[in-house]
């Protein structure tokens, strides 16, 4: 938790002072984790490294868009990595695409809930995940963290495809209930 604040402060230094030492620290911490994370999701090492580099370039050039009240460094980088990956796949597939067109860059959303800070949100969702029944937590891990398809999950777990589908559907609905129940308690 102290760490969350520490990395946020480093990004702010990059944004405000173009602080290279702060950036190097962020780079050394996050670039190898991004690479590892993407490889776990099935990207080969070279592509994982290219996307990690894209993300770090974005951090260097757009650190001013980071708002430490709305997200932690790792959540912000997770989002950038997701969007970079989607951009790359899109360009790879549509040769006629104008490289300058606005890429799939979701508009910054109006505040979700200003009273919920980034750190609290992370704690909440971690707790909610921990409350899921083990079999549901496992399909969340495979589908969400590893990005596996229904049929890949069916193969790796030996469960019939129909069971996989209904279990995933239940798991994400249940996860939502747990997150929102938690929010409701705190609002009182």
């Amino acid at each position: 938790m102290v760490q969350t604040q520490y990395f946020s402060d480093l990004i702010v230094k990059v944004a405000v002072d173009r602080d290279k030492a702060a950036f190097v620290e962020l780079f050394d911490h996050f670039a190898p984790r991004l690479k590892g994370y993407l490889m776990k999701q099935g990207a080969d090492a070279a592509i994982a490294e290219e996307i990690a580099q894209d993300v770090m370039v974005t951090l260097w050039r757009k650190a001013n868009l980071f708002d430490p009240r709305k997200s932690s460094a790792s959540t912000w980088l997770f989002r950038v990595a997701r969007n970079r990956r989607i951009d790359r796949l899109r360009r790879q597939k549509t040769s006629e695409l104008d490289p300058d067109e606005p890429l799939l860059q979701p508009a910054p959303l109006p505040d979700v809930s200003e009273e919920m800070d980034a750190r609290l949100r992370e704690e909440r969702v971690r707790e909610a995940l921990g409350k899921l029944p083990e079999e549901q937590r496992e399909v969340v891990r495979l589908a969400f963290f590893l990005g596996q398809s229904h049929s890949e999950i069916s193969e790796s777990t030996g469960l019939p495809l129909g069971t996989v589908k209904s279990r995933i559907r239940l798991a994400f609905g249940r996860l939502r209930q747990l997150i929102e129940a938690d929010e409701a308690v705190d609002v009182d």
Binding site: R18, K20, F23, D28, A31, P32, R33, K35, Y37, K40, Q41, G42, A43, I47, E49, Q53, V57, W60, R61, K62, N64, L65, S71, T75, L77, F78, A81, R82, R85, I86, R88, L89, R90, Q92, K93, P102, L103, L104, P106, A107, L109, P110, V112, A118, R121, E122, V125, R126, V140, A143, F144, F145, S149, H150, R169, F172, G173, L175, I179, E180
Partner: protein, 214 residues
């Protein structure tokens, strides 16, 4: 409106993870722009993604020093862009612009039935992608699905057997549902529709790309 009987929560999780097909990703992004209903859940899932990135096992870069100096050597001026593009008069969400263009004006609509027009954007990542325009009070053509159909209401509203949907809502029709939506009276209904097709796509970054719920 959208309880999880529809699989909406899984769809949102796919959006947060970035595993949806391109048009489904755009559709959910547009939904989040237009409606605050699911923003909190998606933010929470993105936080979960952040936590798992933070916990990921690091893999050393092949040449860390070169990668770093490539970033510092870049002379491009620092960017302050990425401000949201001003909303156009037709209210097209930003997330749809890479598919639809910058505006709904001047699109090549084709009449399907009296009172129903369609503008197709072709099959993207195995999903048929189109805009539908239904005159107020008219019915869309009755149809069944082979696969899943997502419909995001951009303007007006419609009703089907499952419920009533207004601007910003997503209707989720599963395989083999016989479907006959009817547009609300009073205002023409415009929807962005994505239907999962049959293509299985693979490639070097492969498994992420498949019809939106696989």
């Amino acid at each position: 409106m959208e309880k999880n009987v529809t699989g909406m929560d899984e769809l949102l999780a796919g959006y947060a993870a970035g595993t949806l097909s391109y048009p489904a990703q755009a559709l959910v992004g547009a939904h989040l722009e237009l409606s605050d209903l699911n923003r909190g859940y998606v933010s929470s899932l993105e936080s979960l993604g952040g936590v798992s990135l933070g916990d990921a096992d690091p893999v050393a870069l092949s040449d860390r020093d070169t990668s770093l100096s490539a970033i510092f050597d870049d002379e491009t001026p620092f960017s302050n862009d990425n401000e949201p593009i001003a909303n156009d008069s037709t209210g097209l969400p930003q997330s749809l612009r890479s598919i639809v263009g910058n505006s709904m004006e001047g699109l090549p609509w084709k009449a399907l039935l009296p009172g129903v027009k369609e503008c197709k954007f072709g099959e993207i990542d195995g999903c048929a992608t189109s805009l539908l325009w239904v005159r107020a009070g008219r019915a869309m053509p009755s149809h069944t699905h082979h696969g899943t159909e997502l419909t995001l209401v951009l303007q007006g509203g419609f009703r089907d057997d499952d419920g009533h949907y207004v601007a910003g809502d997503v209707a989720f029709a599963d395989d083999d549902v016989d479907h006959k939506p009817i547009a609300d009276e009073g205002e023409d209904c415009i929807c962005f529709a994505v239907t999962a097709g049959r293509l299985e796509l693979t490639g070097p970054v492969g498994r992420w790309f498949a019809p939106f719920m696989r």
